[in-house]
């Protein structure tokens, strides 16, 4: 029941008085328990050595930033790993002479875990100082272990570093090999491609274009020539035809005319002799009619009958004939050429496409090659750096790590000592009941303060009085008080006795 700070305070004091027995007994028990615990706690001694760590070595700036793992060391992790490892502990136990060879028995295991538990590593001074501490009941052992652990740690750290650089070097080396192989492959591919390109005659794009242009020109010229030749031929042909017809026609007409004249002579002769109805005269008349018809026909040019006409004997004809033959030949030649040129052009076009394609391919191959080459060169450089760093680490020069303060022989016990336990017991024994009583006061619902009654219940409180007591009651109270006091004194004396025992025991 809470009301106000003042009532709380007064109530708390009243509660302290009310629960004085509880407080006294709790105090005595706590103080005694702590003292007894302190009595059985062994004095322990801590010894430690400090190691100055500096990731940056004097060599590091000389080799540049080639070493990828020069500064990346997380010291607390490394130290933990090294010092808590079984290997280190085994070495330590060998050095301390606890075991001869290996950890075999269960006792060895227990010893190992105890050593491990009592060894602590602290990283101090901005991560620049490593403190290796060991605690033991024997100060000499503490010092020995701390100093041995420091040695082992330094050795192991170098080993660790060497292994790390070795690993790094190996990795880079393997990478170099891999890239070398890749580079060779790329080179090979490029070579093959170039050869192939030469084989196919695929020249450059511009060359192809000029060739196509030239061919096109030839083609155009040829076509023009062809047209010309055809025209010429046609003209010759026509001339030849005309010439022949004329010649033939003239020949025939003269023949027909001659025949007609002959017929007409005969007729005239016959007429002289014979009547008009004479069969011969009729016959000749018919013949004359026929010839005349033929002449007519010849004049119209309908008859192409060359039979029996000697054209070859005509020189013009011969000449025309020759020219015509020549033109025919030329036409044929030109046509062939045109077809040929077209084919070539088509071929060139295809070649041009091929050239485009191969250019892209080539660019890719070159790029691939270049990239590989660059990486390879870079890796080569790195490998050299790694090799140097490996060499350095192999010679234990890669790390600037040295013992700053060697392990010492501790004089005063460390950790909680008997006196701490006694003091702690007295303080805790006082505070615990007070705290518990205060806690109880918070949860206690019983009515204890007049202020509360007045305010919450509206009751007029006449007063707060202790129990009405008589002499015998007072005597009983006095006896109880004396008992309580003697309990406290007894506790104190017991603590003193235990303390004396311990001092004598040591």
């Amino acid at each position: 029941m809470r009301y106000s700070v003042e009532t709380d305070y007064k109530l708390f004091l009243r509660n302290l008085v009310q629960y004085r027995w509880f407080a006294t007994i709790l105090f005595c028990l706590t103080a005694l328990a702590f003292t007894v615990a302190g009595f059985f706690v062994k004095n322990t001694y801590s010894s430690y050595s400090t190691i100055l760590l500096d990731g940056q070595t004097t060599i590091a700036p000389l080799i540049g930033s080639g070493d990828p793992n020069a500064q990346a060391s997380d010291w607390s992790k490394v130290a933990e790993e090294i010092l808590q490892s079984r290997k280190t502990m085994t070495k330590l136990m060998q050095a301390m002479g606890y075991i001869d060879d290996k950890i075999e028995t269960q006792e060895d295991e227990i010893l190992l875990s105890r050593l491990k538990a009592n060894t602590h590593v602290y990283l101090e001074g901005n991560g620049k100082i490593l403190r290796i501490e060991h605690t033991d009941a024997d100060p000499f052992v503490a010092k020995e272990v701390a100093s041995k652990l420091t040695d082992i740690f330094i050795d192991a750290t170098h080993g660790y570093r060497a292994a790390e650089s070795e690993e790094a070097f190996e990795f880079i080396d393997s990478q170099v090999d891999a890239y070398h192989k890749k580079l060779l492959e790329a080179e090979d591919r490029l070579k093959k491609f170039k050869t192939q390109k030469l084989e196919t005659g695929a020249s450059t794009e511009t060359a192809v274009a000029t060739r196509i242009a030239r061919l096109q020109e030839i083609l155009d010229q040829s076509e023009l020539d062809l047209k010309e030749a055809i025209i010429k031929r046609n003209s010759l042909d026509r001339q030849l035809q005309t010439e022949v017809r004329t010649t033939v026609s003239l020949g025939r007409q003269s023949q027909y005319v001659k025949r007609l004249e002959a017929l007409n002579d005969e007729l005239a002769k016959l007429r002289l002799t014979y009547h008009e109805n004479y069969p011969d005269i009729v016959n000749i008349k018919h013949q004359i009619e026929d010839v005349r018809r033929q002449i007519e026909a010849e004049k119209k040019g309908n008859s192409m009958d060359l039979a029996g006409i000697d054209i070859k004997s005509n020189e013009v004809y011969q000449d025309l004939r020759l020219q015509l033959g020549q033109e025919e030949t030329r036409i044929a030649t030109l046509q062939t050429r045109i077809a040929e040129t077209r084919a070539i052009i088509e071929q060139e076009r295809k070649k041009g496409e091929l050239v485009n394609e191969s250019d892209a391919q080539e660019a890719e191959l070159v790029r691939d090659y270049n990239v590989n080459k660059k990486l390879y060169e870079d890796l080569l450089k790195r490998r050299e750096a790694a090799r140097v760093s490996k060499e350095i680490d192999d010679q234990h020069k890669g790390l600037n790590i040295k013992v700053d303060a060697a392990a010492f022989l501790p004089r005063t016990p460390s950790g909680f000592r008997f006196i701490h336990f006694v003091a702690g017991g007295l303080i805790f024994g006082t505070l615990l009941p007070i705290g518990l009583i205060y806690l109880y006061q918070i949860v206690d619902t019983s009515v204890k303060s007049p202020e509360l009654i007045q305010a919450r219940l509206g009751l007029n409180v006449l007063g707060t009085v202790p129990d009405i007591v008589n002499d015998s009651d007072l005597k009983a109270i006095g006896r109880r008080d004396a008992l309580r006091n003697s309990l406290i004194w007894l506790t104190m004396i017991t603590i003193g006795v235990i303390g004396a025992l311990r001092v004598m025991g040591n």
């Binding site: 029941m1 007064k10 004091l13 009243r14 509660n15 302290l16 008085v17 009310q18 206690d444 619902t445 019983s446 009515v447 204890k448 007049p450 509360l452 009654i453 919450r456 219940l457 009751l459 007029n460 409180v461 006449l462 007063g463 707060t464 009085v465 202790p466 129990d467 009405i468 007591v469 008589n470 002499d471 015998s472 007072l474 109270i477």
Partner: protein
């Protein structure tokens, strides 16, 4: 009245009452005169009562040890705080109704012998005034033996249980001057039903009428939260005092118990049994 007034005047010495010192006052002295008369009346009544009271039988007087045994507070013992409180309470009660007696019911929440001690001491304190007498009625069993050496004195339970006993035989003198007691007696009851019996009513009426003036009756009642019939005693009482044991009862329980008591008659509560601090702590607590 005038008779007794005269006698009383003689007893206290008339000359002392002469208002000579105020004769030449510039004020109208009638008020003053009346005031003196009123005071005279009180004194006369007191003297009269004292005479009567002086005639009360006082067969024995407790020694200091006997008083302590009965838990009656004496001067300079360890109960100064309680005594102060009791006197304070007495003054509060007597000054509200001067010249008249009263019935005070002392009850508690939760069984506690301290409640009985408190009632007992209240009666004793009341009787401390030479003009007043007190009567303690124990309505439940206590360890008190205020009546002295008498074996099996007739008490309240005998009166209720047997009916043929005179009220006057119940009232026993105590070793404390001017204090009388009606002990609980030796009759045993199965329950607290006796509080509502007619005999109880007769008894209370009888004792309250016997000495209406200057007599204070303290009824020591059982815990109100445990005995339901305590509330019947409400009607007999003029004042109620509630004894509250320190740190034993919850607020809810107190509220419930308060409902049974007549709020108008409730003088107040006493928070008793507080831790008795000594020395440094007691200074801190102030």
């Amino acid at each position: 009245m005038s008779d007794s007034f005269g006698r009383a005047l003689k007893k206290v010495g008339g000359s002392a009452l002469e208002p000579t010192g105020y004769q030449d006052s510039r004020h109208d002295n009638t008020i003053m005169q009346r005031r003196f008369e009123y005071e005279d009346g009180i004194i006369v009544r007191s003297v009269e009562a004292r005479e009567q009271i002086a005639r009360m039988a006082q067969p024995f007087v407790f020694t200091r040890d006997q008083l302590a045994e009965q838990h009656i507070i004496t001067m300079d013992d360890a109960n100064a705080e309680a005594q102060l409180l009791l006197k304070d309470l007495r003054n509060r009660i007597t000054l509200t109704r001067p010249g008249l007696g009263a019935t005070i019911l002392v009850t508690s929440i939760g069984r506690s012998m301290q409640s009985a001690y408190f009632a007992r001491n209240l009666a004793a304190v009341m009787a401390g005034d030479e003009n007043r007498t007190s009567l303690l009625i124990e309505t439940h069993t206590t360890d008190g033996r205020l009546f002295g050496e008498i074996e099996h004195p007739a008490g309240l339970s005998d009166f209720i249980g047997k009916e043929d006993i005179q009220v006057s035989t119940l009232i026993h003198p105590t070793g404390i001057p001017r204090m009388r007691v009606i002990p609980f007696g030796s009759h045993e009851f199965m329950d607290y039903e006796y509080l509502r019996s007619t005999q109880m009513r007769i008894l209370v009426k009888d004792v309250t009428r016997r000495y209406p003036r200057e007599r204070f009756i303290v009824m020591d009642a059982p815990p109100v939260d445990q005995v339901a019939d305590v509330e019947l005693l409400n009607e007999y009482a003029d004042y109620i005092v509630l004894y509250l044991p320190y740190g034993k009862e919850s607020e809810a329980k107190i509220k419930r118990s308060l409902g049974k008591l007549d709020q108008d008659k409730l003088v107040g509560t006493v928070l008793g049994g507080a831790p008795r601090a000594k020395g440094f702590l007691s200074k801190l607590m102030k």
